[in-house]
Symmetry: C2
Subunit: 162 residues, 2 copies
DNA sequence: CCAATTCCGAGTATTTTACTCAAGTATTCA
DNA sequence: TGAATACTTGAGTAAAATACTCGGAATTGG
């Protein structure tokens, strides 16, 4: 599980797609202008999303992309996995050829942690995010919750609307 | 919150440090040979870890690095944050200059998701991992705790193993 | 002093990111 | 049918991040 801007672009695009799924196929050109992602980059991302069977394409005029399954059946983890290579920073690469017990211990711990993060993102679906989005637009921005995280010596205020 | 091999290297190194914390300062050379990470790269990583006050250094012969605080007070999120730049793939960069509501909607959703991932990793400490390492072989993974956060009509299930 | 170690900066090869450009294919509407 | 639309594919590329090398400096225990 790798988490970079690439995955973020993919999730953003998929969210945009989900938000307009009731209006027929969505063209990449539309997503491009709405989300400010270059068309060619979107093409690359959607080639992978299509390959992983998360979206299907409709060619011709009025065509575009559709979600392959319901928003409730597409997890964030799936989207991120589709566009990013699998993370591997081990020396033994799971072959267990590092006989110094120490090495495999921490490797094992990381594998475990990595699995947890993956599970975490597997439990969040596009439907979850879209549902929250619906609520957001309805009740304007009355519930402004401000969470203050302490980072280093500086305070960074993270405002999130729920 | 960005999650790449760099963060993985940092967490691995910090885990190694935690595992040998009772034997006095741990030199980067030791971590290098044990974990298969180049010495110079470790120097870069620990420069940042030191700057973020996660470790302290002891110079001279027999010197090395010590954890700044107890393993229970150092979260995985802190380690990852220390070595990686903050992820920013927005067009408006929080300035709110994207007047097409659509854009900010998905941006906000991602911010929120990102905050959740961050929170998730903030709840896991080095002590948790070290403890699991001790117990791991003994009692497998019986304590599966599932936390479900209910927010209005949308619910996001967060499963975390502790 | 001397060796071990952290510190520091410069440099660099490789990979990833994000994008551009160009050509080609399938589909639909008129 | 034909042209417009839009996906599809591939090549190429600049910028950034990654992971490392090298050389030296500062610090300190023995």
């Amino acid at each position: 599980m790798r988490l970079t801007t690439k995955g973020r672009y993919a999730v953003t695009a998929m969210l945009d797609l989900a938000l307009h799924s009731d209006e027929g196929p969505v063209s990449l050109a539309d997503i491009s202008t709405r989300q400010g992602i270059s068309l060619s980059y979107l093409e690359q991302l959607f080639a992978r999303l299509r390959h992983f069977k998360l979206v299907k394409s409709v060619r011709g005029p009025g065509g575009g992309y559709r979600l392959m399954s319901s928003t409730a059946d597409i997890s964030i983890a799936q989207v991120v996995d589709a566009v990013s290579e699998s993370l591997d920073a081990t020396r033994c690469e799971g072959k267990g050829n590092c006989h110094e017990g120490e090495v495999c211990l921490t490797h094992h711990l990381w594998e475990d942690l990595s699995a947890q993060i993956h599970q975490f993102l597997s439990d969040i679906t596009l439907a979850d995010l879209v549902a929250r989005n619906d609520i957001q637009s309805v009740r304007a921005r009355q519930d402004l919750r401000v969470v203050t995280m302490q980072k280093d010596e500086s305070h960074i205020a993270v405002s999130e609307i729920l």
